[in-house]
């Protein structure tokens, strides 16, 4: 893989949230290790899927890449420049190239602003377009995401969930970004509407050559939309590979269990499927187990798993796994 093919490079990224005690004299008594030393690349024009269960740190990863959270340690290189060392105006200028689509289309749009102001705000903030020009650009964007351009003076409450998500997509596209973090953009939508939004994201990617980090917990949808998929568990990436390789040849026991837990909408297939049912719940990220994070639930756990943390290494072509079982 050549260096210039890489748009985003994440190196040993960590994000810890402090746990404090006391009101006036706050002292730190621990840390939530939301993201704990992860490294990966996102290539230009690809969709990297990031899957995992709630609380595994996938959203925090997305936000830390965009510097909405500043990392505790590690670096994020965007077009070769280290974002984690930038601040102020320099970082603000970089933000034009990287945008975000949020999960909840009801919470991510200001109810007191019109659609025109919501979609046009980034244009104003970055001094790209004002007045009539801005209005025209907003209408163009609304049309692009499949909304009527005459909706420009309406408020978010007048739209359905799917339409609101389209407004969120239009806002993210306003500045012609090259990279968009999609943080569970369809989880809050109904099945038939999900397909509409996913098709829209795919069309836009093709038209503008966008690069996506697609964060989701729905593995079927991630397989559908992604080129490569990273699986997270308790703040760490446990497996990363091409989407077909991941689904045909999952190596990490967690990936195997996760895939087997996803129901397939076909009763004939379901009849003969074997499920790997994991015992128990995900441990607290404030107090992860010693050794491998998955050792408390792993059906194939070894002694070494309780002591040593497995290394995240390439075990096949473009197939990265962190597991002691795979030599």
């Amino acid at each position: 893989m050549t260096e210039d093919n890489v748009l985003v490079r994440v190196e040993h990224l960590k994000k810890y949230f402090p746990i404090t005690r006391g009101i006036i004299f706050q002292r730190q008594v621990g840390a939530i290790k939301a993201v704990d030393d992860i490294s990966f690349n996102i290539r230009r024009g690809e969709t990297l899927g990031l899957v995992g269960e709630s609380g595994c740190g996938k959203s925090t990863t997305g936000r830390t890449i965009l510097q909405l959270y500043r990392p505790t340690a590690g670096s994020v290189f965007f077009e070769g420049q280290d974002l984690s060392k930038m601040k102020g105006e320099q970082l603000r200028r970089m933000r034009r190239k990287m945008q975000m689509i949020f999960q909840d289309p009801y919470a991510s749009l200001n109810p007191r602003m019109t659609v025109g102001n919501i979609v046009g705000e980034p244009l104003e903030v970055h001094g790209v377009a004002r007045g009539k020009e801005r209005r025209e650009r907003v209408q163009e964007l609304l049309q692009l995401v499949g909304l009527n351009p005459y909706f420009i003076n309406r408020y978010p409450h007048e739209f359905s969930g799917g339409q609101r998500q389209r407004i969120g997509v239009a806002r993210a596209l306003a500045l012609n970004p090259s990279f968009i973090v999609c943080d569970e953009p369809i989880s809050a939508l109904d099945v038939s509407i999900q397909a509409q939004v996913v098709n829209l994201l795919e069309d836009l990617q093709e038209e503008f050559g966008l690069t996506y980090l697609f964060i989701a917990h729905d593995l079927s949808m991630v397989r559908h939309i992604s080129d490569r998929v990273a699986v997270m568990y308790l703040g760490k990436i446990v497996e990363l590979t091409d989407r077909n390789e991941l689904y045909n040849n999952p190596l990490h026991p967690y990936t195997q269990a996760l895939l087997s837990a996803v129901p397939i909408p076909d009763p004939v297939v379901e009849e003969t499927r074997k499920r790997i049912i994991l015992e128990g719940d995900v441990p607290s990220p404030a107090n992860p187990p010693a050794g491998c994070n998955f050792s408390t639930r792993c059906p194939r756990v070894l002694d070494v798993c309780h002591e040593e943390e497995p290394e995240f290494k390439e075990v096949g072509p473009e197939h990265w796994v962190a597991c002691h079982l795979i030599a």
Binding site: Y247, D266, D281
Partner: protein, 330 residues
């Protein structure tokens, strides 16, 4: 198979400031002994309201059951006095809900909440109830049940809380378990645990299950019979294999097409159903799905089609068009 529950022409309305919401518009179905019925549909299609109505759990006002019958053990639940229906509810017909956090009382211990139903419906003493509660918690797979029985709900994870809900539901050996999206708030691996648990308990106890969900995947591996709802109507119903293998209603076909499959090797473009579900205050005169349908004919806009048999094993759809013989519109 004997019929356990029969719903006939059930209609529920909500009287709001904006107008009358036609939530459930005359639906009929039967549930046999030991059968698992899946009810699928998107939000607002009336799947929860239809089942809450059979249990008379609709808040009145604004809601009102305006027609129909629900026959259980020879009696119409809709005509029963409230104190009698309370003896059925939670006893012979039990329910579990979507959100296990809000369905449990945060200021009572887990044990107290499980014991309550046992004392109320089974007439057990406090110590008997406690003993039985521990057994139930063990049965649903709560580790160290004797110790954890005195914990409060916030000390349990989401999956564990749902297990407690299931323990409560099963406490009186119900004949029917109604599960209203019980796994929607849970992660996939926890969802698999809960589905597995309900299947096992269903086969052990021999109860019938009504499982309401928007997830066609779960239903495929769980149900014997499926009902697809849209805008308060049943649009298709069939045994599970027939519904997935030979869907006949354009909405069902659209829904199945809009789902990506985990086992699909080639990524195809998803079939999206354009447009939005209709406003239940102002339903169109014809078929409620007509504005979004790819097979529409003139008649669809004028008359709402009845649910009629189209295939073996009582496979029924509500559609004027034979989708197999009709080309799809673009």
């Amino acid at each position: 198979m004997t019929t356990l529950l029969e719903v006939k022409g059930l209609k529920t309305r909500f009287y709001t400031q904006d107008g009358v919401v036609h939530a459930v518009n005359g639906i009929s179905y039967t549930l046999d002994e030991g059968e698992t019925l899946g009810i699928v549909g998107e939000s607002g299609c009336g799947k929860s309201v239809s089942v809450l109505s059979t249990m008379r759990l609709i808040p009145e006002p604004p809601g009102k059951i305006v027609g129909g019958q629900v026959i259980f053990e020879g009696e119409d639940l809709l005509k029963m006095p409230m104190d009698e229906i309370r003896r059925v509810r939670g006893n012979k017909i039990a329910m579990i809900f979507q959100d296990p956090m809000t369905s449990l009382n945060p200021v009572l211990t887990i044990g107290r909440q499980v014991e309550e139903a046992l004392e109320l419906h089974m007439g057990m003493s406090r110590s008997q109830a406690r003993q039985r509660a521990i057994e139930l918690l063990q049965m649903v797979g709560i580790p160290q049940a004797e110790d954890r029985i005195d914990d409060y709900p916030h000390q349990f994870s989401g999956g564990m809380r749902q297990r407690v809900m299931i323990a409560m539901a099963l406490s009186c050996n119900p004949q029917i378990l109604i599960a209203d999206e019980p796994t929607t708030a849970l992660d996939v691996t926890i969802q698999a645990q809960i589905v597995d648990l309900v299947k096992r308990l269903r086969d052990e106890i021999g109860m019938a299950v009504i499982w309401i969900t928007h997830d066609l995947g779960i239903i495929a591996g769980l149900a014997d019979k499926v009902i697809v709802m849209y805008a308060g109507y049943i649009v298709e119903t069939a045994p599970v294999k027939e519904l997935y293998g030979d869907p006949r209603h354009p909405y069902t076909i659209g829904l199945l097409g809009s789902l990506p499959r985990l086992d699909a090797h080639q990524s195809r473009r998803l079939v999206s159903i354009e447009g939005l579900p209709p406003d239940l205050i102002d339903l169109p005169p014809g078929c409620p799905f007509a504005p979004r349908c790819n097979y529409i004919i003139d008649r669809c806009l004028e008359e709402n089609p009845p649910l009629e048999v189209v295939g073996p094993n009582n496979h029924r759809i509500a559609c004027w068009v034979d989708v197999k013989a009709t080309p799809k519109l673009q």
